[in-house]
Structures are given as C-alpha cells and as structure tokens.
Amino acid sequence: MTLSFFDQFMSPTYLGIPLMALALTLPWVLYPTPSARWLNNRFLALQGWFINRFTQQLLLPLSLGGHKWAALLTSLMIFLITINMLGLLPYTFTPTTQLSLNLGLAVPLWLATVLIGMRNQPTHALGHLLPEGTPGPLIPVLIIIETISLFIRPLALGVRLTANLTAGHLLIQLIATAAFVLLPLMPVVAILTSTVLVLLTLLEVAVAMIQAYVFVLLLSLYLQENV
C-alpha cells in the first residue's frame, strides 16, 4: 500500500513518450506571444502586467551587471510557477518533484554566479567568505563555515524545491485516501478530514507559488553578491 503512494512520482511513458515531455512543454503553450497589435487580448494584458511587475521587483536590488540576467530569471520564475501549479491538477505529473530537474536547474545557475564573481571581482567575491566584525580567533573557523555554506547552496536550492513539492503532493494523497476510506465508516470524521484536505490544497497552491519565487529570489541574491 505504501509503495503505491509513490507511483505518482514515477514518470509514466506511453508509446515511448514520457508524460514528462508533455508536462515540460505545456508552460510554453500557456503563454502566448504578443502580436504586432497595440491592444492584444485580456489574457496577454494580464500576462504582460504580471511579468513586468515581477521583473521590476526582481531587478530592484541588482546592479547594472545583474540586469543581463533579467530574461533568464523571469522565464525561470514563470516556468517553475506554471509547472508547480499545473501539478496540483489531478492525474498530472509535476516535473519539479524530480531531484534531477531541480539540481539541473540549480547547479549551473549557482555555478554561473560564483564564476562571474570570481572572474570579475575576485577579492570582493572572496571577501564574502568572512562577515564583517568577526572577532580575531573566530576567523579561521568562520571561513571554513562560510565556504561550506557556499558549496551547499546549489544542493539546498534543488532539494528545497523537490522536498516541498513532493511532501505536499504526498500529504494530499494520504489525506484524500484517508477521507475516502473513512466515508462509509465514520462520515463525520470523513467530513473533518475533507475540511483538512481543502485547507491543505489551499496551502499547496500557496507553496507552489512561493517555492518558485524563493528559488528565483535566492538565485538573484547570489547574483547580487557577485556581480
């Protein structure tokens, strides 16, 4: 019984085409490109407003060198938020529950920020390894600690996204199964469980959006330090 709960995280294939391929290309279909007209449709107006606001907020703390990353960070955010939200629909597959995808996004981007910092301003980048105002004897220990924390960042980025989404999906499935099984036995408890399920789904919607945002925000933070 426990094994079947994890079936939702296996990528099913049909005629050799994995559902992952469909799930990964769907965000591209959902965001149409603006046409040459001045006034497009409502959908595009909403989309344009959201993307502009987000990019403006994201680029506020970044210096001019970080503005080159605007397209990348915005498209990453749109991608993650769409994939997470689509995964909440029944029977769909969420690619971000796979650690391979999240690490594949986190490691190259984090490495890029570090390399940019090391290449353009090595002293400043290395200076981040020691916070200001540290007492003398603590310096060696702190440098080691800061180096470890630097190298753990991509792992944390990837695993955070994976763990949050996987845990959320699993909880939804467990509580839904509990409510379903309890319905013929103890209807009142089943109703209480259903209430918990509704609240949990709302939480999952929030988590889906927040996790995407946190991913991109932290990345922009690492960029801000290094650019």
Binding site: L22, L30, N40, F43, L86
Partner: protein, 75 residues
C-alpha cells in the same frame, strides 16, 4: 453542385468520404515539418477562436487545462 473535382488529399477531414479515408491519410504530410506545421495550425485555430478575443474569459484556458488533465489520466 459538383463544379470541379477536388483531389482527395486537399479536402478537409469532414468532407472526406469514408471510403476515401485511406487515400486521404496516405497523402497527408507526416514529415517532422508537416507535423509541426499541423500542430501550429491547430494551435492558431484554438487560440484565435477562444483566447485572442476582446472579452475572453476563463473558458479558453480552462478547456485547455481540462484537456491536459484528461490526457494525463489516459497516459
């Protein structure tokens, strides 16, 4: 009514008679370019009918998502 005979391959699917279905399928363009252009045409038809309208509502996107759910169920 029948002013000039049209080649089978160029007819739309709803105009093809059942007996002609085999030759219609055989004449269609199944190269990668052909498939991509067919997907493009289908997407443009759906987009211009349901989403690219002045007062579009949630229906256009909702139909797409329900179709996606249905396909995921079958997959």
């Amino acid at each position: 009514m029948a002013d000039r005979p049209v080649p089978v391959v160029e007819k739309r699917l709803m105009d093809v008679k059942l007996g002609e279905l085999g030759s219609w399928l055989g004449g269609r363009d199944f190269t990668p370019n052909g498939i991509i252009s067919a997907v493009r045409r289908g997407h443009d038809r759906y987009y211009n009918k349901y989403i690219n309208v002045k007062k579009g509502g949630i229906g256009g996107v909702a139909m797409l998502l329900v179709g996606y759910m249905a396909m995921s169920y079958l997959w």
